[in-house]
């Protein structure tokens, strides 16, 4: 088993709406991400998947819980050097590449921002060489360095977003819906690029998406989120072949597949949260099979066990 790169324990992220009420965007979530793997996080909008990514990378101050990165504390109050080290080793790729690139900066300066902040290059030449090298890695040419974001197509912009994230040589890259805004024929180019870079640079991905078929293809393990909680976590194939939690089942039954004949008779299950009775018997994450976790109480756990037996 490879090493745990990121450990998230009892992460809570609440947002205050007004003096009285708050939203529990992420409510007591724990998981580990191993070095070199792709960890998929799926759920509907509002499930808290994006919030998890942002809490990990310290865009929000977390309400409770603990994040450890490479065995070191990565949440809460940290020293300046510790913060810089996390900023260098954890990077993020966003959904809309146009919104994350400054329209008034050329590509060279956008990509080199990480170099400048962390003072990774001693001379201007060294800085340029680093930029050209990373552009070549993501499939762009060095001529592109002098251009501005509006001169690129959506797929190319996402490549710039990837180059910008990889320039500091990070260990963990949080991909927040990196392909949702792209056209079908461009999506697979970007996914193949992410896979290639992972192999070459030994990257670890936290891949956040709502497109389940893509998540299945790219991820080693998948966590399904619903209303701020992880309801099921397993290896990608295990989750797809043996989904147990009723929410996971409902989500999977809703994915349209490109096969007209089976599509015409696909039955969809609806998920009704009121089917759980958690008044006396408290639910928690339980391991039902090796590495397959499910959020349930004792009674449900036994029911699931008879189901898979």
């Amino acid at each position: 088993m490879s090493n745990v790169l990121l450990k998230v324990e009892h992460l809570k992220q609440y947002f205050k709406l007004d003096r009285k009420s708050k939203v529990k965007a992420v409510d007591d979530v724990s998981f580990d991400i191993y070095e070199g793997e792709t960890f998929g996080l799926v759920g509907e909008s509002g499930s808290g998947k994006t919030t998890i990514g942002r809490s990990i990378i310290r865009l929000y101050d977390i309400t409770g819980g603990n994040v450890t990165f490479e065995g070191k504390q990565a949440s809460g109050k940290l020293k300046k050097e510790e913060r810089a080290s996390i900023a260098r080793n954890m990077q993020m790729i966003f959904q809309d590449p146009m919104a994350c690139l400054n329209p008034r900066m050329n590509i060279r300066d956008i990509v080199a921002e990480g170099i400048d902040i962390h003072k990774l290059a001693k001379t201007k030449e060294e800085r340029d060489e680093m930029v050209y090298a990373i552009l070549a890695k993501v499939g762009l040419a060095r001529e592109h360095a002098g251009r501005y974001p509006h001169e690129f197509s959506g797929g190319q912009r996402q490549r710039i977003g990837i180059a910008r994230a990889l320039i500091t040589n990070p260990k963990l890259v949080i991909c927040d819906e990196p392909i949702s805004a792209l056209d079908v024929s461009i999506q697979s180019q970007v996914v193949n690029l992410l896979k290639k870079l992972q192999k070459e640079l030994g990257l670890t991905y936290l891949f956040i998406a709502h497109d389940l078929s893509m998540v299945r293809y790219i991820s080693d393990r998948i966590a399904v989120m619903h209303k701020g909680k992880i309801v099921e976590l397993a290896d990608a194939e295990e989750l797809y072949n043996n989904p147990l939690h009723p929410y996971t089942r409902s989500l999977m039954s809703a994915i349209p597949t490109p096969d007209p004949k089976s599509e015409k008779q696909r039955a969809r299950f609806a998920y009704d949260p009121s089917q759980h009775d958690y008044t006396t018997d408290e639910p928690k994450m339980r391991e039902i099979r090796p590495k397959h976790f499910i959020y349930c109480n004792e009674k449900e756990f036994q029911a699931y066990q008879t189901e898979i037996a």
């Binding site: 190319q156 024929s185 193949n192 709502h210 078929s213 349209p256 969809r268």
Partner: protein, 350 residues
């Protein structure tokens, strides 16, 4: 048996821009049959939305209709004045847009917005319009219509808003409903509900649907026939079975092969190389030839005509010319089709 309700013939639409004329739709022809769902798939910029906006008469002022006609009940819609067009729009042909928040008026109650078209198009009185609106609200699956009637769009969730938009679209019993990416902004489970609703209502109202999307899974679920658009042209059209189990155009191959749904782990995803062409200067010949692994010399010189494969299926690629060499589909795609065919023949559908 099949009655044509709408016929688009050689539609060609360009847009005036500073850089020159953008040829958004180039010589598109298709028929829409009574009661069917025709899907139009393509990437952004392929001309699918421009085609639907031409049918609705909603093109922006810099659009130029270079040629072609859109026949509805013997009338060429493209020749109508704005005044005459408004008699058809909403009443005979209605449209559902992608983003329900932008197609609803935020400062008008839902009730007023549904009643509006009934009062304007069908000359209902206010009371009649209210009664019908309440009926429509419950028809699209929203509870307590009386209460909802008085609410504003921001009090509804995304899926609920899209239901309201559908209720408005269907309020005047249109013959044709155009859905332009109606579920793209929605979650998968909400998407599934909305698709089911559209299918149910289609049965109920007997309306013919043009369904525009880029999601091939949704197409498989919704439609009877599908037209694949690329660079302003329909490159392949047929029943969903034709196009999914026997695709003939290299672009359709690429689209289908790049879906990860049945893709084994570790195998690289099939990706169409390059990016769609600039439509100010569309390539000579077959617009897809630059990105295709199957291009022949003729593809770079002459545009391929539509070759008929069967009564229902045609595609525009020189590969279908009798003199063209026989080529195979991408191995990954052929493998997947074989698996699906075997599965369906075996009688198991899971």
């Amino acid at each position: 048996m099949k009655e044509t309700v709408l016929s688009v013939k050689n539609l060609t639409v360009s847009f005036k821009t500073h850089g020159g004329m953008v040829q958004a739709v180039r010589d598109v022809s298709f028929d829409l049959y009574q009661g069917e769902t025709l899907a139009i798939v393509g990437e952004s910029g392929s001309g699918k939305s421009v085609t639907s906006k031409s049918i609705m008469g909603l093109l922006s002022p810099n659009a130029v209709i270079e040629k072609g006609e859109i026949l509805y009940n013997g009338t060429n819609l493209l020749k109508l004045s704005e005044n005459d067009f408004s008699k058809y729009r909403g009443a005979d042909i209605a449209m559902v847009f992608q983003d329900p928040m932008t197609s609803l008026n935020p400062v008008m109650t839902i009730g007023d917005q549904i009643s509006e078209s009934l009062i304007n198009n069908l000359k209902y009185t206010k009371e009649q319009a209210k009664a019908r609106s309440l009926e429509l609200i419950s028809l699209v699956g929203i509870d307590s219509p009386e209460k909802r009637f008085k609410q504003y769009p921001h009090q509804f969730s995304g899926g609920m808003r899209q239901r309201i938009v559908i209720a408005i679209a269907l309020s005047c019993n249109p013959k044709i409903l155009i859905c332009d990416e109606p579920t793209t902004a929605l979650d998968v489970t909400t998407q599934a509900q909305i698709l089911e609703l559209i299918k149910d209502l289609q049965q109920h109202f007997g309306v013919s649907v043009i369904f525009i999307t880029h999601d091939l899974g949704v197409v498989a679920n919704m439609s009877d026939r599908v037209g694949v658009m690329y660079a302003g042209k329909i490159v392949e059209i047929g029943t969903v079975e034709d196009v999914y189990y026997d695709p003939r155009h290299p672009y359709t191959w690429g689209l289908l092969a790049s879906i990860p749904a049945f893709q084994a782990k570790g195998v690289e995803l099939y990706a169409i190389p390059g990016a769609p062409p600039q439509m100010i200067n569309p390539p000579k010949g077959d617009a897809f030839s630059l990105r295709s692994d199957w291009s022949m010399k003729v593809d770079f010189v002459h545009q391929p005509p539509m070759f008929k494969i069967s009564e229902t299926h045609s595609a525009a690629t020189w590969l279908l010319h009798p003199n063209a060499p026989k080529v195979d589909r991408p191995a990954q795609l052929q493998e997947r089709i074989n698996v699906l065919m075997r599965m369906h023949e075996g009688g198991k559908n899971e």
